[in-house]
Symmetry: C2
Subunit: 375 residues, 2 copies
């Protein structure tokens, strides 16, 4: 039910254009996936997401398993029916939330026991099998294995143990996962060390025939150079060409442009909606903080030439400044539309360049633009 | 530039169907006007408002004069350009906010001095002339005179003085108002006393040729019977037939149905959006509090047969319960769409009944429906 085709390969970079085939439709890659943590992208209904060209959404297993609960979602016909999004959906494993949000967690080979602090501190035990049971109840098109994501910096032995544990869990997820209309991706961990990354990848290739790979544990505090030092060779030289590569939790424009050049196909991040709620817009001039008084009388739209619903309807920076200052929902909504559209459009244009064989100059243009420091 | 035509008159009740002609288009009456206090209806962009059939919007002079300021709005091309709503707009005078929100205000024949508590306590002096200057800068199609709205209950001498002051201010507003592309409505005050209401109306008819009348000072705490005891004869027997009547600040469905029967043409209220943000939906069963656990697994849409974007896209009560419980913006958005659509549709159906000469039975159906106690 799930497959991936490469449509074009850039000659100058490692970028490729492809198509993910899923039970709920095709997804052109490279692609940015907006995040609907609790089965809704904050402030945007599915009709708006479709309008700005969203092809696939992400939802969060941890939050949904707590509220409203995976059983309830399944009873309501699964995540697509529940949230009225008929396109492809990817659910993460929730592992990232367990390790970053929980005040206390107890790790064993068997799984992880944690207190769900956002939900009254309820005690929860997740084994890889339980995690897969939840993923299958939610019913996304693509699901991720349970993994452990170390922060940065972490001592090498700690990262090694995380790789080992994630590998064991990958194997158990692979065995426990049975839904044929759902693709299970393995996750490459290993911190900033290429050799640990390769060890993680090798484990994954040994334990199952994953139809795609997540790359976790980047963008956790390291600088850009450190990130790409191991990420670039991992992706461009070592990961299997025929399978999609998903750089998890990354959403700043410059990392997207550079990531695609390494051969990344998929990205997700709360950044466009979270920054929107803070009053910030992506633009070709770099980020704009609309709270700033300099926008009070600015009659320009957010970004010149932008075709998002906010810009094409003619909403000015002055008006959005007013909305943001007054904490009006419409401010968050307009900026969320604009920011998600910005990333979707960036990947759409990247794909066109790849197909046209001009992605090298696309990257050079980006690197010399004012938006390059936008991360 | 502004005129009002009666299209049909119901034979059994005092209801009438009409059309307001404004510089930004025609408005069929009876009509409900959604409220965009700060130049935005909370959570809904103009495109969504249009989608649910909004014909005219209300915005608030007090709030807009404080932020971003009437001069700035004028500089941005006026309210229509600023908020990107090309249809008709009505602005209230802001008097209601001055008297209800201000901790301290000092009233004189000349005007009212107040501290804008929501905006850092800034001291502001409003004369009728200043109020009209602001209204003309904002540039709505219909504007309201500055008035004083007494609460309920108020001693009769207090209400008498409010009528007297509002009458004087009406005269000064009428003289100060010069924009020909803007209709200035007078406001009938007088509390629950029919004789004071008639005195107020007579003053207004003497001091200017207002193209329409607001009716203020109802729905301020009195019960339904008390309200209609003076409102019904005022409207049906005494107000001039050829001019539109606008019952200010009223938005509960039953009062709309009964108000139309008396001959009211226009209504506005924050109720549909405010209750939406509290998690409440209008429905033909009466109000539904979606926070309630009984909706957790309810696979029905909000209201059977409803054609609003929330119901027609199939969002279930279970999903909206989840969104509301999780304080997701999308919950407020879906309920706001539904609730405003509910009132717009109620008035659309009322108008059809008036044109068909069946408004009497429309009212009887309403009075025997479970939604009748919905206020």
């Amino acid at each position: 039910m799930f497959s991936y085709d490469i449509v074009a390969q850039d000659s100058e970079t490692h970028a490729r254009a492809g198509v993910l085939h899923t039970p709920h439709g095709d997804v052109p890659t490279p692609i940015f996936m907006p995040v609907g943590t609790k089965a809704t992208v904050k402030g945007l209904l599915p009709s708006s997401l479709e309008e700005i060209g969203t092809k696939i959404l992400l939802a969060n297993t941890y939050h949904l398993s707590m509220r409203p609960g995976a059983e309830l979602v399944a009873q309501m016909g699964g995540l697509h029916d529940f949230m009225r999004w008929d396109g492809p959906i990817l659910t993460d494993s929730g592992g990232f939330q367990v390790f970053s949000l929980s005040e206390h967690f107890k790790l064993s080979d068997d799984g992880v026991e944690f207190h769900a602090v956002d939900y009254g501190g309820e005690k929860v035990m997740w084994t890889p099998e339980e995690n897969m049971r939840i993923a299958q109840l939610l019913g996304a098109d693509i699901v991720m294995q349970l993994d452990q994501c170390p922060g940065y910096p972490s001592p090498r032995p700690f990262v090694e143990r995380a790789v080992e544990l994630s590998s064991k869990w990958a194997e158990r997820c692979w065995k426990a996962h049975t839904r044929e209309d759902q693709a299970l991706f393995g996750i490459v961990q290993g911190g900033m060390d290429l050799d640990l990354r390769l060890r993680s990848l090798r484990h994954l290739e040994e334990c199952g025939n994953f139809p795609g790979y997540g790359i976790g544990g980047y963008s956790v505090g390291e600088d850009h150079a450190t990130m790409f030092e191991s990420l670039a060779p991992l992706v461009s030289e070592h990961m299997p060409k025929g399978k999609p590569r998903y750089l998890m939790g990354v959403g700043n424009p410059t990392t997207l442009v550079r990531g695609v050049a390494c051969g990344i196909d998929m990205f997700d991040c709360v950044l466009p909606t979270r920054t929107a709620r803070m009053g910030t817009a992506f633009s070709n001039e770099g980020r704009l903080n609309l709270k700033n008084t300099r926008f009070r009388q600015d009659q320009r739209t957010l970004d010149e030439g932008c075709t998002c619903p906010a810009c094409s309807a003619g909403f000015t920076r002055a008006y959005i400044h007013h909305l943001v200052r007054q904490r009006e929902m419409s401010g968050s909504i307009l900026l969320s539309l604009h920011n998600i559209h910005y990333l979707l459009d960036l990947m759409r244009r990247a794909r066109e360049a790849i197909v046209a064989g001009t992605y090298g100059s696309f990257v050079r243009d980006w690197e010399s633009s004012p938006a390059v420091n936008d991360y």
